[in-house]
Amino acid sequence: MSKQAPPDAEEADEPETTQSPVTTGSESVIRALENEGVEAAFGVQGGAIMPVYDALYHSDIRHVTMAHEQGAAHAADAFSVVRNEPGVCLATSGPGATNLVTGIADANMDSDGLLALTGQVPSDMVGSDAFQETDTTGVTAPITKHNYFASDADTVGDTVGEALALADEGRPGPTLVDLPKDVTLGETDAEPGPAAPPETTRPQYVADEGDVQTAADAIEAAERPLLLFGGGVIKADATGEARAFARDYEIPVVTTMPGIGSFPEDDDLCLSWAGMHGTGYANMAITHTDLLIAVGTRFDDRLTGGIDTFAPEAEVIHVDIDPAEISKNVYADYPLVGDAGIVIDQLDDAINTAPEADEWREQVQTWKDEYPMDYATPDDEPLKPQFVVEVLDEATSDEAIVTTGVGQHQMWAAQYWTYREPRTWVSSHGLGTMGYGLPAAIGARIAADDDQEVVCVDGDGSFLMTIQELSVAVREELDITVAVLNNEYIGMVRQWQDAFFEGRRMAAEYNWCPEFDKLAEAFGARGFRVDDYDEVADTVEEALEYDGPSVIDFHIDPAENVYPMVPSGGANGQFALTDDQL
């Protein structure tokens, strides 16, 4: 293409600068992303992906260089959760690609839309154990919806478009395109066509009307109905339908952890989330319901506890867009395959009278009074983590986004922060990836509105796993606040060791961690340390006000355990409230 413009070109009244035509495979890759409105991508450079980065050079897509590829995958994952559209991450071949694996597996478990683009050695070297060669499609096949090995510069743009569309279609999830260097460097003028998911993966959006009617009849007849909203309600953008349904028929609501925010937790009908560390009242309700109306959940074992005692009195209506989730873990008496919002509307149309459940609603309120989440704050004990979470919640808006790592701090952040809006809770659920919180905060910050605060509630162990990403937050001047609930333990393991391994705290002590406030300053972020109750509110305020990344190292009670707790495989109704009940 000629760079010489006609003399009057600058004066010409052209509406928009048209994109220059595609000349290489990598330009076609980037064009496919641009065509679909991709705004941001997270990644790390490297040999085999260099042609793709070269094509990004002239693109308006915001690229955020991460410190480690795992951080790139988590940041893209969190971007996806907050925006409800696939996040994009890039990595080179070999170690770049394998470093993405944890983040891809995390996205797969939590049904987060994610497109991973990985460099690969040139096609003619594949299989020769070339430098930085890994069988990336082989490694990631079990943890993606589908992955692609690009074989042709002329079609690589279409392949990327298809992979992006597939990541978002139906039940979202990760996809990957492996890009050999000869394909991305290869000459082509083929512009990618409109992105479309493959023909063979089309989901069913509308449930069978007959099945809907039978389920609706069951709802009308239920005496102890309970709604269970999973992450699918949020993914399907169905919180409006879900909230209206619960309120119109006055059916109490329990959520799963990924479903946090689907229903306002301060609503009288809401019992918060159920499962291993769910509220006592949620677990009582799920144990005694006679009709569980589950929407967009896969009945993870952390939710169900032992299957034998899960909702043992209940018929189950299961709404899910993935037919394979129906009766996978819990048998569905009323299977409804379809989109959460559409099926809830279908049910609404099919129901004539609300279930008569006054007694049940009273019972549920009684449980709320019987099992409050109140905790003690004795003067002679160290700072309680629950208090820190409540102060953070009060100091931020309803739209503030919380990201977490995995462990005790995650549970306290989920229990003691009152979530009211979807996509404000960003966590690693199914895979349970320690280290998710900080890179997720970076992805969430890029995705969120400017007036939404982004708070990473982290643990000392989790923070240390991906702490290098703090350099990214500093470089990009990202306004995030990291609140480390530091108990100098890998706390959830310590809790289990005390409960189930007679207190043998093998490899659980983390008193060797660096001083996080000083480390934060070394990175160029603001650092704070808090040991006492009277410092909490002021420090939180100062950190939130600081327009950039800040870290507060809260030294909390190392003996504090997470309750309620349903022991692994136990009955939800048997949750322990204190150490001696385990």
Binding site: P312, P323, L577, T578
Partner: protein, 221 residues
Amino acid sequence: MSSDDDLPKHGLQGPAPEERPHPEGRRNSQGIRIDPEAEAEHEPRRAVISALVEDDPGVLSRVSGLFSRRQFNIESLTVGPTTVENHSRITMVVEEPDPGIDQIEKQLAKLKPVISVGELDADAVRTELVLLKVEGDDPDKVHAVTEMYDGQTLDAGPRTITVQLTGDEQKIDDAIDAFRQFGIIEIARTGYTALARGDQATVPGEKPGTADEPTQPTNAQ
């Protein structure tokens, strides 16, 4: 928060587990509520599953990887081309309880290269091929048994004879028993390949008799 003196220093208040009402009901390991009318655990049964797939690179590893990572019990798997270019048919024999068979079909259907998948009826046409290499000491008798089972001799040398037999599993098992007297040296069995009987479609959406037309993907479970 609360500074109430009634609160435990650690943990939460509320009735202890033994003070709470606990329902009587239970579910079995398949997540099905057990009540007097309902069946208890499903027993495993054998099923022949047919899948029409796009001939993507790696399709076989995607299918076999699915079976191993989800711990589906698979007895055999055969794969081969169809009359439609870039379409292959995979025939699998699995042994699982009904919910497991249902899961296999649904999980297979989720794989991008899988166009359509279904379980074959009990009356489906199914056959298996076996190659048997036996000691060549008594060629006449080997020949006679081969004839009895409608087999063919593929190779006969001074020390070994290799025969080919086809049929259902029972017939192949019987034949192998009959050949034991000669001393079996090696066996290679293919496992079942199968088609639906008559004008039924082998997988949902497939159009037998118009084999050169690509099958439309279905969401049939």
